[in-house]
Symmetry: C2
């Protein structure tokens, strides 16, 4: 493989409901190429989709109040976390690990209270991140004529490891995997288990070029041999066979 570039898209201001993210990216980054991959932060997507919740609009349930005491978060924040969750895996030590309605396992169901665009605003994950990715990819193609793969990323804590990293929650126009299963290694031995979650690696790589407070909602990955198709749903372990339910 050759060199890969991670190109932050700078100069996009605060994103508002109704904004056309693909168009904003094209205005700020004029030279998209076929095969580029655009990694967009989930927060930018939720803002553009108007998927922002005013804390004062939430009426916390008794359970949300209980959770607030356990976690140190506001009852309104806990109420939104519960609304976004299909289930709770762990609640302890100020942390709530949820499975979202999409199936993602993450702290606080991905509800974000930082960089939300204003005091008292909370931002949940996009309702259907694969669909958000498709819309951005198709709109980008309409604007530029370039085939660009799209990844929507969000920040995840991990089991067994300290700190967070960005992973993929939406995928369009690119396979989420590079699958070596059945292929021979350099010694001719068939590899049985190696299936690299490149969508997650692309999301992680893009984070390095964006940062958290630098107002970079999107990063272009250039030079990675993309192609194929797929969905972030393929990245979800079936809970029925999960060893860490």
């Amino acid at each position: 493989m050759g060199a890969i570039q991670l190109l932050p898209i700078e100069g996009i201001g605060e994103i508002k409901a109704g904004d056309d993210l693909a168009s904003l990216c094209v205005q700020a980054f004029s030279d998209f190429c076929d095969g580029d991959i655009l990694v967009v932060s989930s927060k930018a997507v939720s803002k553009a989709e108007g998927n922002v919740v005013r804390e004062s609009s939430l009426s916390p349930s008794p359970f949300a109040h209980q959770m607030a005491k356990l976690t140190g978060s506001s009852p309104q924040y806990c109420e939104l976390v519960l609304r976004e969750s299909a289930g709770i895996l762990r609640m302890a030590k100020g942390v709530v690990i949820c499975r979202t309605h999409h199936g993602f396992v993450m702290a606080n169901a991905g509800v974000d209270a930082s960089n939300t665009g204003g005091e008292g605003l909370l931002i949940p994950l996009p309702k259907d991140p694969d669909e958000s990715a498709r819309k951005i990819g198709e709109r980008l193609f309409a604007l530029t004529g370039k085939q660009v793969g799209i990844i929507i990323s969000d920040t995840f804590g991990r089991a067994w490891r300290v700190g967070q990293m960005n992973l993929a929650i939406g995928v369009w126009g690119i396979s989420p995997f590079r699958d070596y299963r059945g292929r021979p290694d350099d010694n001719g031995r068939v590899m049985h288990k190696t299936c690299i979650a490149v969508a997650d690696e692309l999301a992680a790589a893009a984070e390095l070029a964006s940062g958290k407070t630098d107002r970079v909602p999107a990063v272009v990955v250039r030079g990675y041999p993309s192609g194929g198709s797929g969905s972030a749903k393929e990245l979800l372990m079936n809970p029925a066979i999960d060893l860490f339910p």
Copy 2:
């Protein structure tokens, strides 16, 4: 932040015990710069350190034989996995999730049977990956006069998600984290929990430029604002407070 480049180091042949990895990298990639980060695969490090085990040299214990039946791997392979493990978190469905003596939670304690350089050879993780990283970094500095951060990477499965990705098991000359805790976000709100495991993101990014069968044992990350210092041990969640023991 500006653009980041992921530059694969190509043309390094099969690595043998006693090889000087830093020197091989300098021969194949002549223009190291201050602030570059060199991500080296753990397999390359183990090979260079002579940390390769001949399957036929292993005498499997009764438990290794039992594990072989459960997992479908050879008793010799299971014996090495057990020797490399401080504990087993799960053994089911053909998979063994171990905590290595270093503290990394990964399938088969990271013991590799692919691309090992020959039939019947197995490759465990480096004994002390931080120390391996230090040696490579100091040798690289002696050869080039450039301050280059070092990350040793390996491939990990993840809880709740399908597929594997590369993460850091050794770190030298760079902080493993970008810590936002206590810093204000763009709206002036203090961020309480965001501490990005950049060492893991750098390992993941480098994998995109290396691949598994392309004989690229190292990738240079250029343009990421590195600096600081630290150890991959900081990336390990204390098992005493781990929610997923």
